[in-house]
Symmetry: C2
Subunit: 331 residues, 2 copies
């Protein structure tokens, strides 16, 4: 939630000149992304035959940490693929040479930069059933639209990573966060790993479709954003991740109407097979474990005086328990 | 450089409804301000007789720390006063009841919020003479336009505060930053305090007109922003602050052409009296001391693992020495 690198007007203007988007009118560092710097840019717009588009807006991202440069082509060309099929995702703006991103940038040549479309919309905090229905439908459209996406990327946040994070936190670390958490992980993680399905349809998934990563205007989805966890994995797991993220209130209370609407919306575009539907309780537990483990690690590794408040791993941990006790919600 | 408070779409929409600016289209937390949270908002625009303005943009600021609420009317009504006189400053958007800001906001009722105009432009890193000339002229216009501003506010970063900050850092703390710094403060601060002018024209000053606080398109100033140090003090001191901020490169090398252009630009609008001009070397040393002291304090009080890198107090400290040795640059 910060801008790690200062880019002055001169440097920003020179950067923008690499793209056919006109000249710089405004640049504001925006507080999005935890492992990269982002700016909301306004330019005069591309010089087309009709002259200046006027007020064209873009998001410029500088990749600073964590994300492997080798994965950037996957993320950025996926945006192009989905946008071309009408999904509400930001298009990647290619540079004048047709490249997806600027590489070897900065004084040490170790940074990369990409320019993507700006999309309107705001992220909701308390989703309604109508909003969840719309998100479910867009998620299903994304799954269908990505079916012929040619590239592939393994899920870096899969079962093996939950186990690695749990070991890195240690039972003592988990207990320090919450005495219950160590117990939940000790009993549930081996069970999930042993029973994780291997025979469900797989494809490209967003894998992190929290409300923060969905832009909406009313009940309309105007943007699906932040594809940096996108990968190839079990398709129905993406619906389970979205379910964990959308169908509980801030006190972790299950919202039956939101849940029903999310799944209805999804199935209005892509029907779940009987096998997929039967797997949802387990996939939901896995999705909850995934966020419990990444949050637990962040919790133990965020400096006490950092500006960012780490998210409580007990939220997803409680949701895991809910899915285990209430498999009928997906029936 | 962070957004301290999360405002979801619902809360943001409810907030925006207090103003006649249409409905929310987009909200991005922006990485500006160290003691408040800021969002760049887009709305459908106020409902006027011609219908939606479309794409109206604003900056929403939530005041979280430091700034005394009692000072907000001064800052915000100053923007209105200057904008009405044609200065390129953002207008304050009053709420539907005509109020300058929303008070008693948030769960504890201890926050305040203000909506101001968004202005285009970008901040330069390496000012040219042409840019400095334009900024000098706008600064002088601000001083003239504010002459009949009815409110008054003492300078909280005046000589007494430099002394307080120096004492709070302590000679040992200053020496820890740089062995030279303690010596500079010990010898120069008492001299500046003893000789600080008391008989120069005073009025409303910006007091912090660094390039970061000026938006430009080419050589045109499109915005003077961040008035949270604005106060009533020696008018020529404001030119001295601006000189410290604009007329040296990143290696603290004096830029004679930029300096000449800044002062020429200023005097093209408001001539300096002989007394003011003669005081500039001393005022420049004071301005340099002011930033050396605030940066020294921040340096010693920023956690080592904070995301924000504190600014080096030695930059202004070296500029202080330059002004002392080269009073002729203002002749």
């Amino acid at each position: 939630m910060a801008v790690y690198t200062h880019l002055g007007a001169e440097e920003m203007s020179a950067l923008i000149a690499r793209f056919d988007v006109g000249t710089l009118v405004s640049a504001k560092g925006i507080a999005e992304g935890v492992s990269n710097s982002n700016w909301l840019l306004e330019t005069t717009g591309a010089d087309g035959p009709e002259g200046s588009g006027g007020g064209a807006r873009f998001i410029l991202t500088m990749y600073e940490f964590r994300i492997e440069l080798a994965d950037l082509p996957y993320f950025l060309s996926l945006l192009d693929h989905l946008a071309a099929k009408g999904c509400p995702v930001p298009r990647t703006i290619h540079d004048r040479e047709g490249k997806l991103f600027v590489s070897n940038y900065g004084p040490n040549g170790d940074k990369a930069l990409a320019l993507i479309e700006y999309l309107p919309g705001v992220s909701v905090s308390t989703p309604t059933a109508g909003q969840a229905r719309a998100v479910g439908a867009e998620l299903a459209r994304l799954h269908l639209a990505a079916a012929d996406f040619p590239a592939s990327r393994a899920n870096g946040m899969g079962v093996a990573e939950w186990q690695r994070l749990a070991a890195a936190c240690g039972a003592e670390g988990l207990a320090r966060i919450n005495p219950e958490l160590a117990g939940i992980v000790a009993s549930e993680l081996p069970r999930l790993a042993a029973n994780w399905p291997a025979d469900l349809p797989s494809g490209v998934i967003h894998a992190d479709l929290f409300p923060d990563n969905v832009l909406m205007l009313g009940d309309t989805v105007t943007g699906l954003i932040d594809f940096y966890f996108a990968c190839n994995d079990i398709i129905a797991y993406d619906l389970a991740v979205t379910h964990v993220a959308w169908c509980f209130d801030r006190h972790d209370a299950f919202q039956p109407d939101v849940s029903a609407a999310l799944i209805e919306g999804y199935e209005s575009v892509r029907a779940l097979s009987a096998k997929e539907r039967a797997a949802l309780p387990l996939l939901g537990q896995g999705a909850a474990m995934r966020f419990a483990m990444s949050r637990a690690w962040d919790w133990l590794n965020t400096p006490a005086d950092a500006l960012v408040t780490p998210k409580d791993p007990m939220g997803p941990a409680r949701r895991l328990g809910f899915y285990k006790s209430n498999p009928g919600i997906f029936a």
